[in-house]
């Protein structure tokens, strides 16, 4: 299972690339019970990394407290319009997804 595509927006302005990423993931804590009273097993993104021109520009480790459909915004220097940025996440079940966007 690969999950839904991420929405990535990367904008170049004043020498800085602003990156906004919206991922599609349940981010189940493992503490919630379903209607039948059964615990819903934890299912959450554990690691995220963003790369530009083969260089990691941000990496993160997450726990279950990151909100459902995670959002991250950050800025890095060096990138230019037309270049690509890619973001990869891996969750606790080993699911993985990578998406790419062009810097505007």
């Amino acid at each position: 299972m690969m999950g839904e595509p991420m929405r990535i927006r990367a904008t170049f302005k004043d020498g800085v690339v602003n990156v906004k990423v919206l991922m599609s993931h349940e981010m189940e804590t493992g503490l919630r019970k379903d209607a039948a009273g059964k615990v819903v097993p934890a299912h959450f993104i554990q690691s995220v990394s963003a790369t530009w021109q083969g260089k990691v520009v941000l990496s993160a480790q997450w726990g279950t407290a990151v909100s459902k459909n995670p959002f991250v915004e950050f800025n890095f220097k060096g990138g230019k319009a037309g270049e690509k940025i890619s973001v990869t996440w891996t969750d606790n079940k080993g699911d993985k997804r990578t998406d790419e966007a062009t810097i505007n």
Binding site: T29, L31, R32, S47, L58, W62, A65, F71
Partner: protein, 156 residues
Amino acid sequence: MNRIRRDMIKAGGGASLLALVAAAGFVRLGTAAAAEWNKAAFEVKTVAEAFKALGAGTPANSADILMKAPDIAENGAVVPIGIESRIPGTESIAVLIEKNPNPLAASFDIPAGTETMFTTRVKMAETSNVYALVKANGKYFVSKKEIKVTLGGCGG
């Protein structure tokens, strides 16, 4: 002849073993570069234990860590938090929520060239202090802010 052959086999065996070890080492290096998920830090139940598991010990308070977050969050399931570190040499920033079942929410590694700030959204079980832990030049600094939560965002 025979001895030479045996030596060759031995040498060959040794070489491939070495290659194997090197390959194993390389693989381990590869995953280390991607940073293994810090299970211990994410699974402890108090901020102090999380600081310890992150190697932060007792971080010094700093006024150079700015936290942009609401004073009151109506929905604990989605609390926007922005953290900016103005401490020179900032390498990583972690977010911890004291009253959550597991306080450590997220830890960001910030390479040179990336601004030492980010925005994300976290879940808060109840009204709690939120800590921003910054690692800069190998030293740890912290700042906290209380966020009141009207409707909890965990369990349910």
